[in-house]
Symmetry: C2
């Protein structure tokens, strides 16, 4: 998982690095991702009603679909810090733009992750903005950037591909690992040298995020700082488009999306289809790295819900299963406890009312009232869970033909330990 | 907590007991609550779409507002057991009615709690129904009944009062403790010798349950078997009423309800007001016993949300806080982590958007961005949490004047241990 730079397909004209500025005690805590030219850009942010100040500024700066630089600090989220915190987030962008000679502060997007409600050391942060060029030089050190945005992540998360057209995409993320005094936050940044206009990129990024990063659960809580951004600088001179018609076809595909289905989308030319497929692949890879690295997680699980009345019902039921502490602890303990799945399916208000049509699978093995107490079957399934880092669960509702899928961390004693034993 | 019979105020003409029938290995696993005469009755059941078969039968039998006998087994929930399970639940009522000489099987309400998806040993259960009278004799052994309905509860839960009118009320509950192979289930049974017609009793019971038992969270999961029932046999000859007007006044009171406010309800005569107040008090006492005995719980916490736009918003935010694994682990670790409260408040979709109006209290101490990093304040609050079995949190939203309150268990490593380390 811990990619070194030479294994990455760094998109042309992108620079990146990370270093220690002193918000954390010793680890890297400041990262920069920068393009030599202005980029088309798109972003999605937390749905939390109390977003961090950097999120507020980020929403402003993404409005015109143009960005050139992303600055991230870890160790302090700049949330619930009052007017001073908002002013500081704004000033980091102005300082960075001036320092790098960018024509407009709105070309900079800021992110912060870490403890909530503690005043940010403004001098330290602005000092970092003023020393970007001396640290950045001509480096494209994406792994250093990936390490600098981490909080309690066990490892940095990167994924990277080169397309047959020569276009490159690299994604970097940090996970929803949580430890006092840090706060749960998912951050993801994607860089590509494809040429795509902001409207097409926005449409594409939302569709892909909605079916990858937005399909994961560590503990059901929602950070105040979640941010995902993509920059496309056009340096490959390869054009990509994603029309509303392509969007509609893409969104009609069942999750998890089969790459072969993306290639069949009539409204996409071959090059754009490859780009969409690879971007989805990278996003899903990062999403799985995040749940696999949930705090204290021993394994993660895929919950596929099929034969639903509609995609909304499928997703609500999949999320109910994925977020259930009883299901999460059962997976942690390698217990094929299908009764807990029945409970989690049944608790969704608009769930199916007919239990006799329900089919439950662990891996390929069906479980129901006839064989659900059979010690041999349960032993086999417990071994299946033990043996897999990704456990696959599938529920067929018998109510229609829609399908959805989510991925989730298990729930361990280590999670509780990490989140309870370190006091403020 | 472990009341002996002589300390209870047993309502007149009620009998109760519990014994071992062999569904569990050794513990009491069958309980009976019986009135010498038919009772007015009311009940509320799980909202889970896959209710246990006993819940399906219970809903049928409560329809006319008349019951005389409740039979409960622990160790097997009779959920997801197909048509045979439904037929068995129905037969337990017919057998019990015939054995006790009741005119109609619909005077019997059945409950089952325990593992899901395992066929119930029908002969054992029907044998128990056929031997009720020899075990019951003339006993009013409510503690034995309370023990027989337990699964992983650390102690049986009873609460009991005698009113100035001489009316008696006794309540018995089992908690939402969960342990493989048993399943999370809340069961609560109330018996009184007040005289109240079924329509008034149904209205009253729903209003009281909605503000007590329905305000608790152990882990946010919803059992397939949750059941709460009240029987009132009129043996005290004291009449009680609860009109729609009284209901409206009662439901307008802020939760937690101040007993003095119930006494002021204009649509209640003094005797009925005392009955309502005491029934609420008993229900809240049982509710708190349940969260205090959540699996592995070290302490529990009250979440009061005031200054909300309306009661619905207050309740959604209170539940978001109470169900948050990050808040639960913080309380477990005696960490006054107000940043996690900010997160949990902000994640509610229709929550308040103005963080500057938010006021957060642990006990009486306010916490905000100015003092929220002060080591002395945090040390004092950590000691406050350490010292209390019931921790009080209060959030004032600054958005209106509605208030709600819920009670919740903390989240411990023992919870994870209990729910993951015992495989099927």
């Amino acid at each position: 998982m811990n990619f070194r730079s030479e294994e990455l397909h760094i998109p042309r004209d992108f620079l990146a690095t990370g270093w220690h500025i002193g918000i954390k005690t010793a680890d890297l805590d400041f990262g920069v991702l920068h393009s030599r030219r202005a980029c088309s850009a798109a972003a999605v942010f937390t749905q939390n009603n109390f977003p961090g100040h950097p999120v507020v500024i980020g929403r402003e700066h993404i409005r015109d679909g143009r960005l050139q630089t992303i600055i991230v600090n870890s160790g302090n989220s700049n949330v619930a810090t009052g007017p001073a915190g908002l002013a500081l987030a704004r000033k980091t962008c102005a300082t960075t733009a001036e320092h790098l000679g960018l024509p407009d502060p709105s070309l900079v997007l800021p992110s912060s992750t870490g403890v909530i409600g503690r005043q940010m050391p403004g001098d330290v942060l602005l000092g970092a903005c003023n020393s970007i060029s001396e640290h950045l030089k001509d480096q494209a050190d994406f792994p250093a950037f990936a390490r600098a945005i981490c909080t309690t992540d066990a490892y940095p998360k990167l994924a990277s591909r080169e397309l047959s057209s020569g276009v490159r995409i690299t994604g970097v993320a940090k996970g929803a690992g949580m430890i006092e005094p840090d706060m749960a936050t998912m951050l993801a940044y994607f860089a590509s040298d494809a040429a795509i206009d902001p409207a097409n990129l926005d449409r594409l990024f939302r569709a892909v995020m909605d079916r990858s990063i937005n399909r994961i659960s560590v503990d059901g809580d929602t950070s105040t700082s979640d941010t995902a951004v993509i920059l496309a600088n056009g340096a490959s001179d390869v054009k990509v488009s994603f029309s509303p018609a392509a969007d509609a076809e893409f969104r009609a595909l069942a999750v998890p999306i089969d790459p072969a289905e993306i290639a069949k989308i009539a409204a996409l030319d071959a090059g754009s289809a490859e780009f969409v497929g690879v971007l989805y692949e990278i996003a899903l890879e990062l999403a799985k790295l995040i749940v696999a690295d949930g705090e204290g997680a021993r394994r993660y699980f895929e919950v596929r819900v099929s034969e639903a009345r509609d995609a909304g019902q499928a997703l609500r039921i999949a999320r109910s299963i994925a977020n259930s502490p009883l299901v999460k602890t059962a997976i942690h303990g390698a217990d094929p406890n299908w009764g807990r799945l029945v409970m989690a399916i049944g608790k969704v208000p608009d769930g199916p009312g007919d239990i006799s049509r329900l089919k439950i699978f662990f891996g390929e093995q069906a479980l129901h009232s006839e064989n659900g107490s059979d010690p041999e079957v349960l032993k086999t399934l417990s071994a299946y869970i033990q043996d897999h880092r990704e456990v696959k669960m599938h529920v067929a509702l018998g109510a229609g033909d829609a399908q959805e899928c989510v991925w989730a961390s298990d729930l361990s004693r280590e999670y509780v330990h990490l989140n309870s034993e370190y006091t403020t």
